[in-house]
């Protein structure tokens, strides 16, 4: 089985709008002080069982994707991988909540959201492997390139959503950013533009506790990141980022309101990065084991699994099936990533401009000559043997 054969999240369509809680429209600007939760509350009784099972299967697969990608860094197959282990509920909910025509604007840690939306896992990893910056056509998948500079993709999401609205398309843009990114100027400018333009954008902040090593307390003095919405005139919502149905519900409401012309929403999902920033980082220098252990007890996969088995929606066989599907995905990913990508050096000059400048033509000719000389050298070395 190849990786592509696995059904991506793009094939799943939730029945809009979510039925289990009335949407407040317009929503209040101030977030509730406590993160919104579904798991372990009465609200879970109203949740769509099909959605819950789907979330579970995707969480299991997502977790496996994270561990597989991390393993690939150790084998030297990936230059770097910023794991989203611990944050899978946010990643999966973001992917599942969007319709096919909607756009996702991921940050560098959101590979998993892109894959859950239906992107080929290998195409999603080209940036991190180092063979191509963006291994897919953003327009085909409606996924913007994974963005490495912080928060700079947020104004893009606003502009795209605004343009779609001007064209009369009911497209929503979902932009993902981390807690550190909320300090960047582009975050503030994007929120302000979105609110003034009433652009159909949903901003999802995954507050995972640290911007590399800097804890949230050194990042902001605000009561919560969701509070930042108030000043821009958009609703802010705080949600338990490890509670997949809760993230899905809050995102659904925001997406539905945006689609109806209700404008943007800022959502802060409170979660935790279980791994280091990337495989190149040493997290023991800035956080203590007890904190990590406390969050391990609040693991998004385990939380949902416990709830679903407790309610009789999921049994051991169901869990085993989900794990098996995840293993197949991981095996296929491993196999395909074990092949060296074929690189064409002359491509360096191909996509700088629509038409190469005379300067680039000269440089391309020089590289061509170098490559030819290399090849001649190899040939004569072989003949000399």
């Amino acid at each position: 089985m190849t990786v592509q054969e696995l059904p991506g999240a793009a094939t799943y369509r939730p029945t809009p709008p979510p039925a289990w809680k009335p949407i407040t429209d317009p929503a209040p600007l101030l977030p509730d002080p406590e993160p919104y939760r579904v798991l372990g509350t009465d609200a879970i009784a109203d949740a769509d069982p099909e959605l819950l099972l789907r979330l579970h299967a995707e969480l299991v697969r997502g977790r496996r994707y994270n561990t597989q990608a991390t393993a690939l860094t150790k084998q030297g197959r990936l230059a770097v991988y910023p794991s989203s282990t611990g944050q899978e509920a946010c990643e999966i909910a973001a992917a599942l909540v969007l319709e096919e025509r909607d756009w996702l604007f991921p940050s560098y840690r959101d590979t998993l959201a892109a894959v859950a939306r239906g992107l080929d896992p290998v195409e999603a990893l080209t940036l991190l492997r180092g063979d191509r910056h963006t291994g897919y056509d953003p327009r085909e998948h409606r996924i913007a390139p994974l963005c490495t500079p912080l928060a700079t993709q947020l104004p893009h999401a606003v502009g795209l959503a605004h343009a779609a609205r001007l064209k009369g398309d009911d497209v929503v843009a979902l932009a993902m950013v981390g807690d550190g990114g909320t300090s960047e100027g582009d975050f503030h400018e994007a929120l302000n533009f979105a609110a003034v333009w009433k652009a159909p954008v949903v901003f999802l902040v995954q507050n995972n506790g640290f911007a590399i090593s800097v804890p949230l307390a050194k990042q902001t003095a605000a009561p919560s990141l969701a509070h930042k919405a108030v000043g821009y005139g958009m609703p802010g919502r705080l949600v338990d980022g490890n509670d997949a149905p809760a993230v899905h519900q809050v995102l659904s409401e925001a997406v539905a309101r945006a689609r109806r012309g209700g404008g943007p929403t800022l959502i802060e999902a409170v979660t935790y990065r279980m791994e280091a920033h990337t495989n190149a980082d040493d997290a023991t220098r800035y956080r203590v084991d007890s904190e990590v252990e406390a969050w391990r007890a609040h693991d998004p996969v385990q939380l949902l699994e416990r709830e679903l088995t407790g309610r009789g929606l999921l049994d051991d066989e169901g869990i085993a099936q989900a794990k098996e599907a995840a293993e197949r995905m991981a095996a296929a990913l491993r196999d395909r990533m074990n092949a060296d990508p074929e690189l064409a050096p002359m491509d360096l000059f191909t996509h700088v401009y629509a038409e190469q400048t005379s300067q680039l033509r000269e440089q391309a000719a020089a590289l061509r000559a170098e490559l030819d000389a290399e090849q001649d050298h190899e040939h004569s070395a072989e003949e000399g043997r």
């Binding site: 191509r132 910056h133 963006t134 291994g135 897919y136 056509d137 953003p138 327009r139 085909e140 913007a144 390139p145 500079p149 700079t152 947020l154 104004p155 893009h156 999401a157 606003v158 502009g159 795209l160 959503a161 605004h162 343009a163 779609a164 001007l166 064209k167 843009a173 100027g185 582009d186 400018e189 994007a190 302000n192 533009f193 003034v196 491509d347 191909t350 996509h351 700088v352 401009y353 629509a354 400048t357 005379s358 300067q359």
Partner: protein
Amino acid sequence: MTTAATKAGARTAKAKPATMAQALGRALRDSMAEDPTVHVLGEDVGTLGGVFRITDGLAEEFGDDRCTDTPLAEAGILGAAVGMAMYGLRPVVEMQFDAFAYPAFEQLMSHVAKMRNRTGGAMPLPITVRVPYGGGIGGVEHHSDSSEAYYMATPGLHVVTPATVEDAYGLLRASIASDDPVVFLEPKRLYWSKADWSPEAPAEVGPIGKAVVRRTGRSATLITYGPSLPVCMEAAEAAVAEGWDLEVVDLRSLVPFDDETVAASVRRTGRAVVVHESPGFGGPGGEIAARITERCFHHLEAPVLRVAGFDIPYPPPMLERHHLPGVDRVLDAVARLQWEADS
């Protein structure tokens, strides 16, 4: 733009005096009328018509959705334009003043310039960034920078600057029509320069990237662009009295750079002076001089000289006349071109 020019050329129209500002405005208007995906956005571009009135009347004619007054945030304006272009629009962004464009540098460098490349050609960004630049209008601090070297040093951007009324129209039309991002530098001290020009039959400008010889001569070549073109033309006229017959090349586009026209001219004359307002150190003149040396070394009778602004932050308006390269400084450089070696 060639289609528009050809279509309009069929009609007979009387040329009347027009300013560069009017020609730029007309180029925006014609582009918007022809292509519904062209959107103008920036601070004050709507009701006010821009602080230089370049966008005058566009909001009235095309509506707020096509000519949009944005919140005051350059990174946000350009960042939003990126998203708009991703969805198939052709945004034209106004940066109001040169030094106000700096907050948008990250968007320009990291996204606008690189999106085509990052996506393997799948997502070109046809964005035009209009930047009024340069001094000579008595602007206070942060209103007179010449930032072209930064833009030139960023692969993926075209850098275009008109020096005449005809080029202001033609090059802006071509920039908006380009599938690549263009930093369109408008020499603000030439905004009110006039020429007999007919908007109904604009002169053919051709594609971006072609320099033009504004004055032919045999003794030396002045290579320049934008605000320094009139200075060089005046210097060339004054040089006749000294017995120098100067050729003047107007680059019009810094990226792509027209090596062919420049090298051909310098090979004919054997001497070259590059003239621009921006600081000389690390400026466009160094790059141009190097390119000339590489291509024309055996034709050169003298080292390639540069006449540039001083390597200082842009000075206060009451001192700017000492900073800006004028006719005398250009003639001084011409005088230093080792003429005695000739005789």
